[in-house]
């Protein structure tokens, strides 16, 4: 029981990331009909937004502290971040400590802008081209984006800590009446899951309850007809692309403390996210989210020692295996609609 609960929890954080990336991929695919291989790179850029903000907040000037001496007996030189100078010690420290959550605000305009530029500058020229061309050009774009990041931030992972207050762990076992320490779960991962739920819920609410969302959903179902109604679908779709980019970026921002960002993290996630989209059903938003969590949790179950003893290596391949089985038995995925990408 406790083992199962623990595995479900363990699967949630990765599942959340898969779900958010897959949601964006599906939005782009459903609205624009474009297969975006650069979506993982957007996730990576989000993570580096957190890194960047952290660095900006840590920009320092040097003061000489007469009260302390270094080991040679000279007055100690101390680096003081500007934010401390401006806001005072306590508040300044708090700002730096909470840099990752703050990066959410910082990243949203950046990701919207990146998404907007990508769609207007590049993707829109590929609506009429074959899917293979779309895959290829966004694949090229992904390489370019990750190489740019590598140029500025180097090839090594950059640790980006969560706020101190959220660094500990939560004992879930006690909450549901199990033994102390039976199900201990890092607090930040739980935060990540809640955050993902919030973002995903927000996107769905936006699509469900706003006129804008309604038009977009109608456009996903039947683009031509909606276009005939005199509604400027293209502009809305551009905005949807920006939103999809922002969702991927936010997923990346909050993921930074879980896995230190490096320039190729996007590619690693992309491959899995594509598998998630296909399993969920190309073009189905609920399918993408459900499959994201499902595969995240499956992956975590497959890495249990008991399971591995039974089927060695299963943890390495479970996701791909599920994808292959689903694609062959239910070509449209779990919740796919008819007529999407069927040739």
């Amino acid at each position: 029981m406790d083992a199962i609960l623990l595995q479900i929890l363990n699967g949630l954080d990765k599942g959340s990331a898969y779900a958010m990336i897959a949601l964006g991929l599906t939005l782009i695919f459903g609205t624009l009909g474009v297969v975006n291989f650069a979506h993982g790179a957007l996730f990576m850029i989000g993570a580096f937004c957190a890194v960047t903000l952290n660095r900006i907040l840590n920009l320092s000037y040097t003061v000489v502290d007469e009260t302390q001496k270094d080991f040679l007996g000279n007055p100690l030189k101390v680096d003081v971040p500007y934010v401390k100078g401006i806001f005072g010690d306590a508040f300044g420290n708090a700002i730096i400590d909470w840099s990752v959550p703050l990066a959410i605000l910082f990243s949203i305009p950046i990701m919207l802008a990146v998404g907007y530029a990508m769609e207007r500058g590049l993707i829109k020229h590929f609506y009429k081209r074959p899917h293979a061309d779309q895959i290829l050009v966004t694949f090229g774009l992904a390489i370019v984006m990750q190489e740019i990041v590598k140029y500025f931030f180097g090839a090594n992972p950059i640790p980006t800590p969560a706020p101190d207050a959220l660094k500990g762990s939560i004992d879930f076992g006690v909450l549901v009446g199990l033994d102390v320490n039976a199900v201990v779960y890092p607090a930040w991962r739980f935060v990540y899951f809640c955050f993902a739920a919030l973002v995903i819920g927000g996107v769905f609410a936006f699509l469900q309850f706003t006129t804008f969302g309604m038009v977009v959903r109608a456009g996903m179902a039947d683009r031509e007809t909606v276009g005939l109604l005199g509604i400027n679908i293209d502009r809305r779709f551009t905005i949807m692309f920006g939103i999809a980019a922002a969702v991927a970026g936010l997923a990346g921002v909050m993921y930074a403390p879980i896995n230190s960002p490096n320039y190729h993290m996007g590619m690693d996630f992309l491959v899995l996210s594509f598998v998630v989209v296909v399993v969920g059903g190309m073009g189905s938003l609920p399918g993408a989210v459900a499959a994201g969590f499902l595969l995240g949790i499956l992956e975590s179950f497959a890495s249990m020692n008991e399971v591995k003893a039974l089927l060695p290596g299963i943890d390495q391949i479970i996701i791909y295996l599920v994808a292959i089985i689903i694609l062959l038995t239910r070509p449209r995925g779990l919740m796919g609609r008819k007529g999407v990408m069927e040739d």
């Binding site: 694949f139 090229g140 390489i143 370019v144 140029y151 491959v271 296909v278 390495q316 062959l328 990408m341």
Partner: protein, 403 residues
């Protein structure tokens, strides 16, 4: 000649000449000159040219003809390498059994993957192949360690059986001819290296290229292009598309296996990273950059990428300063600053941008670029003639109004 028409024979002869004379052509600069760093005529790099050439030719037989975009072809290359190294471990360092087994194993493996993946088309096919390749890669790193030697990579140890070795050499060889052996020809300040390994691979590449031409020009090749063009019409014309695509998939898988086997024959190692999807991505880049669906394109693409990867990573800031030294100081620094991100380790950035430009503006790759330049030059000479100089398959005369 060899069952080819005149144009194809010319193409084959040109390619053969280039491959045979490569040690000269790729070493145009004297060994002690400053430009010697742009020489590419050393065995290791030349071997990579032809091996990746084979890989790309094979990939193009699938993607260029049928339009099925596989993102998992590196798996076959990796499997080929493993099979070859196992032959070294069990039999001897002779490369012949290694390469034969590499092709066979890769072929069988591609029958398996192709049979399953080809039940879907379009993006689903791409993702299925990607999933299979990633699965193979992950397995090679984990449970299959007894076969693949995991992260260390598979290599030959002195206590391996090598039952046929006798007192044969301790390096890879072809019936005694060591793959690493080379003859250096010095002419004045120039130095040309003729490597046994290179010529061994080159023969395979020429055969592979010749077979590719034959396939392109065969009724079978026509059917593969028909698959790309209209599967519905094909089915209603009485043709079963499945065996055609599977045959193309397996043939291209065997090409990849051959490339993998040759890699191991040049350096008896095999690692799982050869199967990673980035490696599959690389062959996609080569084929598209050179010109998918054309004969010479993939070879050009492979050579282009491998050459510039090698050269670009050698250029550093001091080389740049030399180049721009004719400029005023400020200007020089500025130029170096601008160019810096694209050289050295920034080669992948350059490659990514180049690749995007090709996909956007030049879908036919370098071959199309060459044709456009040729057409432009001819157009300047006189009014364009009706026939195009297209050295590749399907001439596409526009429905001209002028005639």
């Amino acid at each position: 000649m060899f069952g080819l028409d005149k144009k194809d024979t010319t193409l084959l002869i040109v390619v053969t000449a280039l491959v045979v004379l490569a040690p000269f052509i790729l070493n145009p600069f004297p060994a002690d000159s400053a430009l010697a760093q742009f020489n590419a005529g050393y065995p290791d790099l030349m071997q990579r040219f032809v091996i990746f050439g084979i890989f790309a030719i094979g990939f193009n037989l699938l993607f260029g003809l049928t339009g099925y975009l596989s993102f998992g072809h590196a798996a076959f290359l990796g499997v080929g390498s493993y099979a070859a190294v196992w032959m070294f471990k069990l039999l001897s360092y002779n490369v012949v059994p290694a390469i034969v087994l590499a092709v066979i194993v890769a072929g069988l493996f591609s029958v398996l993957i192709g049979y399953v993946s080809l039940r879907r088309s379009g993006i689903y096919f791409s993702i299925l192949t990607l999933a299979f390749a990633q699965m193979s890669y992950n397995l090679a790193y984990s449970v299959l360690t007894p076969i693949t030697n995991g992260e260390t990579g598979l290599q030959v140890y002195s206590n391996d059986p090598q039952i046929l070795k006798g007192d044969g050499p301790d390096v890879t060889h072809l019936f005694g001819l060591e793959m690493g052996s080379a003859y250096t020809l010095d002419i004045g300040p120039w130095s040309f290296v003729f490597s046994a390994g290179y010529y061994f691979c080159a023969i395979f590449m020429l055969v592979a290229f010749y077979l590719a031409i034959r396939i392109f020009r065969s009724p079978f090749g026509l059917m593969l292009r028909a698959v790309k063009s209209n599967q519905q019409r094909m089915a209603y014309t009485g043709l079963n598309t499945r065996p055609y695509t599977l045959a193309a998939f397996v043939i291209s898988g065997m090409y990849a296996g051959l490339a993998g086997g040759l890699m191991a024959a040049m350096d008896p190692l095999a690692g799982a990273e050869r199967m990673q999807w980035t490696a599959s991505g690389e062959v996609v880049l080569m084929t598209i950059l050179g010109g998918a669906g054309t004969l010479i394109g993939p070879v050009l693409g492979a050579g282009f990428i491998k050459y510039f990867e090698n050269i670009f990573s050698k250029i550093n800031d001091s080389v740049l300063h030399q180049w721009f030294s004719f400029m005023p100081d400020g200007m020089e620094d500025f130029m170096v600053f601008i160019v810096h991100p694209f050289i050295g380790k920034g080669w992948h950035l350059t490659l990514g941008i180049l690749f995007m430009l090709v996909v956007i503006f030049l879908p036919g790759g370098l071959v199309e670029g060459g044709q456009r330049i040729a057409a432009w030059l001819r157009g300047r000479g006189k009014k364009p003639a009706g026939g195009s100089g297209d050295p590749e398959h399907h001439p596409k005369p526009a429905p001209h109004v002028a005639e």
